[in-house]
Symmetry: C2
Subunit: 432 residues, 2 copies
C-alpha cells in the first residue's frame, strides 16, 4: 500500500481531515506531555502537535529528542486553530522519524561569510527559498514570453576563441592544450543564427572576470539574450519592456507572500506595470543630471553613481538611448539623424539596481564595422566569421542582453546580487 | 506607414491575395524576361516570379543580378500554382533588394570539414535549420514537462572546485589565479537544494575533456538534470520515460516535415510512444548478450559495442538497471535485496544512439558514502559540504542526467552528434 502524502500548502487549504505530511523540522518546542513541531516542506510551513498519550512510547521518545532540520513523516488530523500560523494545526497520530539531524550549525548569530560558507545548508532558509522560487518563475516567464512571440531557443558555445578587447575580463580555459575563453555574450553567434531562425533567445551562463566587489557583480551569471531579424531599436525596447512586465506579472501572481517576506511591497511592482517606461536620450540624461548638480562632460559613459542619481526621479525602469558612438562597442551603428550617437540603449532599474539591459541595433554595414574594429585595435581576421554575416544577405536587426540576477535582485529588493543565485561566484568566493 | 510582412508559412496557408514577404534567396533561375526566386525565411520556402514588364527598370536590373542568400523584400499577389513547391507562387509587383550577397561559398562539392569551418553560414541550410528548430522544441518540451509536474528550475555553478576522480576529463579554468574546473554535473549542488525545493531540474552546459573522436561525444553539451526528494528508482524511471515521450509528442506535433526532411520516419517515433519501455537488469542484459555470442564477465561495465549489440533486439529505448555496485559512482546505493548491485539505471536509445540517461537513487547513509569515497581514493574533506546533506535530515531521493544532444541525435536520426548543437566543440574543433 502506498501512502499518499500531500504538500503543506494543500494541507492548509484542506483545513480538516486525515492527512500524511513529510518534510523537515522548522521549529520545535517541547513540553512535558506534548511536542510542537513546525514542519517545513517546499510549499510552506504548518504547526503540528504530538501528544504523549496519542502516540506509541517509541514515537514519543523520538519526538522528545527531535532537533531542527530532522526529516519526519507525520500522519494525523487537520484541525482549524486560529493560533497556528496559517490557521491550521496537524494533530499527529503517527510520528515517523526519517532522520534525526545533528545540531544544525546555522544559528541566528552567524556572520554573513559563515552563511556563504554554509550556503548548501542556508538554501533551506525561508529567505533563500523564497528567492529561489521567484528565480524559477523568472526563468520560466522569460522563456514563455519569447515562445509566445514565436522565438526559437538557440545556444551559443560557452567555450570561445575569444577576442582581444575583452581580454582583461575573460576567464581562460585550458582546452586540450589550447587557450579558449569562457563566453561573455552569445551575440556574434546569434547574429549568424538569425539568418536561419530570425527571432531567437537564450538564457545561459556568462562569465566576467571583473575585479569588482560590488553588490551588483557576479563572476558567473545567467544572461538572457535576444537577437531579432528585421527589428529596429524602438521595437526592441517595446519587446524588452513587455518581457519584463510579463515576468513581473507572473511573479506577482505566484509569489506575493514570498515578496512580502523579502521586504518587497508588491504595490511597488504593480506601479511599474501600470506605467509606460520613460525613454530619454543620453543628452537628456546629462541635462537632468546637471540640474541635480552633477555635471557629466558629453562623451563620457554614465557611471553607477550617475545612473543612481538619475534614477532618483523615476519609480519605473528608464531607457536611456543614443549614447555617444565613440564610447560604444564596434557593432552599434551611428544614428543617421545624428552621427555622433549610436542607435543603442540601456535599461536602468530604479532604486539603485543599475543596468538591467543593454541593447542596440547592429551595424549592417561591413565597411563601418571594419573601421570601428580597427579603431578599437582589433585584428580583423578574428572577426571574419562575424563579418560574413554582412557579406551574404545583410539585414537590419537588433538585440539585447539582460543580467537575470540583476532583474531578480530588483524584483526581490535584495541587498546583494549574490543572493539572486544559489551558489554565487565572485572574486573572493568560489566555494562550495 | 508601416508595412505588414507575413511569414512564408502564413503566405502558403493564405494561398491568395496581396502580401509582403521578406527573406533570403534560396534558389534563383534567370530567364530573358523573368526571374524565378525561391524565397526562404525561418518558416519555409516559397516560389516567387519577377516579370520584367511588371516591375520598374531599376528593380529588374537588381533582380537580374541577384545571387543566392541575398536579402530581399517582395510585394505582390499570391496565386495557386500546382507546379510550385507548396502549391503557391508569389507574382512580384514590387522588388526591393535589401542586400546583394557576394557569391555564397557553400556549394555542393564542399567537404565536411569545410562545412564545419563555415558553420556560421551552414546554419542557413535546410538540414541544420530543421535540426535547430527541433532542438528549440526539445528544450521547450523538457522544461514544460517538468513545470507541469511542479518542479522548480534550479542552477548550479559552472565553475566548481572540482574533485580528484574526474581529473582527466575536467577542463581547468584560471579563476583569478586559482584553479577551478568546468562543471560535469549539477548533482552535488542539486542534492543540497532538494532540502529546500524538493523537485528540481535544470538544462545547462556541461563539459567533458574526453579525448574521444566518436560521433557520440561533445566536449561541451547541454545536460538536462533532475533531482527529486522522496522519489525511488522505479518512480524516477517513470518520470524519465514520460518526459521523453512528451518531448517526442511535441516534436511530432510541430516538426513532421522537418523529421521527414532529415530522413527520420515519424512512424518510428510513434511506435516508441505506444509501447512501455522494457526494464531489464544488468544480469538479464548479460544473458541476452551471451545468447547473441557476446560474453561479458559479471562486474564489467557495458561498452558501446555491447550496448549496440543488446539494442539490436529492441525498437524503443530500454532501461538497464542494477549495475554492479563496485563499478558505480560512490553515491549509488546498494540494493538491500542484493548488495552486489546498485539501485541505478541507464536508459539506452535504440539504433546505436547509446546512453541517453544515467540515473539512480542516492545513498542516504553517510557511513556508506564515506566508505565508498575512501575506496575510490577521494579526499573526504572535498566532500564535506555534500556529506552535510546526510547530517541534517537525510531523506530518500533520486536523480538523473540526460545528454540533450544525444536525445536530439536519436530523434532526428543524425549521423553525428556534432549536428545536434549549433557550434560543436570537440577535441579537434573549437571554431568558429
Amino acid at each position: 500500500m502506498k501512502e499518499k502524502y500531500i504538500s503543506i500548502k494543500e494541507a492548509l487549504e484542506k483545513k480538516k481531515g486525515k492527512v500524511s505530511l513529510r518534510g523537515w523540522v522548522y521549529r520545535e518546542r517541547k513540553f512535558k506531555d506534548k511536542v510542537f513541531i513546525v514542519l517545513r516542506d517546499h510549499s510552506g510551513i504548518i504547526q503540528t502537535v504530538i501528544h504523549k498519550d496519542k502516540v506509541s512510547e517509541k514515537e514519543w521518545e523520538q519526538a522528545e529528542r527531535i532537533l531542527i532540520e530532522s526529516s519526519v513523516k507525520l500522519h494525523g488530523e487537520l484541525v482549524e486553530d486560529p493560533r497556528a500560523p496559517g490557521g491550521v494545526e496537524l494533530r499527529v497520530e503517527k510520528f515517523e522519524l526519517v532522520h534525526l539531524a545533528e545540531p544544525f550549525p546555522i544559528t541566528k548569530d552567524k556572520s554573513k561569510e559563515y552563511l556563504y560558507d554554509k550556503r548548501h545548508l542556508w538554501l533551506r532558509s525561508r529567505y533563500l527559498t523564497s528567492i529561489l522560487k521567484i528565480r524559477s518563475t523568472v526563468f520560466r516567464a522569460i522563456r514563455e514570453y519569447f515562445w509566445s512571440k514565436g522565438f526559437y531557443e538557440f545556444h551559443s558555445p560557452s567555450l570561445t576563441p575569444g577576442v582581444a578587447e575583452e581580454g582583461p575580463t575573460l576567464f581562460e580555459v585550458n582546452y586540450f592544450g589550447k587557450k579558449l575563453y569562457l563566453t561573455q555574450t552569445w551575440q556574434l553567434y546569434a547574429e549568424a543564427a538569425i539568418f536561419a531562425l530570425e527571432k531567437i533567445f537564450t538564457i545561459a551562463p556568462s562569465f566576467r572576470a571583473e575585479r569588482s566587489k560590488t553588490s551588483r557583480h557576479l563572476a558567473e551569471y545567467w544572461h538572457a539574450e535576444v537577437e531579432v531579424a528585421w527589428m529596429n531599436m524602438d521595437e526592441l525596447m517595446d519587446l524588452a519592456e513587455e518581457m519584463i512586465k510579463h515576468v513581473i506579472r507572473e511573479v506577482l501572481k505566484h509569489h506575493r507572500e514570498d515578496l512580502e517576506f523579502l521586504g518587497r511591497d508588491p504595490k511597488d511592482l504593480e506601479k511599474v506595470l501600470k506605467k509606460k517606461w520613460p525613454r530619454i536620450t543620453y543628452d537628456e540624461a546629462l541635462e537632468i543630471l546637471e540640474k541635480k548638480g552633477m555635471k557629466v562632460p558629453w562623451g563620457k559613459d554614465l557611471r553607477t553613481i550617475e545612473e543612481d542619481k538619475l534614477m532618483e526621479d523615476f519609480d519605473t525602469p528608464v531607457f536611456v538611448t543614443h549614447y555617444p558612438k565613440e564610447i560604444m562597442a564596434f557593432y552599434k551603428p551611428r544614428d543617421p539623424k545624428n552621427p555622433k550617437v549610436a542607435r543603442c540603449f540601456d535599461l536602468i532599474a530604479p532604486e539603485g539596481y543599475g543596468e538591467l539591459i543593454g541593447g542596440s541595433e547592429r551595424d549592417e554595414n561591413i565597411d563601418e564595422l571594419i573601421k570601428a574594429l580597427k579603431k578599437a585595435g582589433e585584428k580583423i581576421e578574428n572577426y571574419e566569421f562575424y563579418l560574413d554575416t554582412r557579406r551574404y544577405g545583410s539585414i537590419p536587426h537588433s538585440g539585447f542582453g539582460m543580467g537575470v540576477e540583476r532583474l531578480i535582485s530588483w524584483i526581490c529588493k535584495l541587498e546583494t546580487i549574490r543572493d539572486a543565485i544559489p551558489f554565487p561566484r565572485t572574486m573572493t568566493r568560489h566555494k562550495p
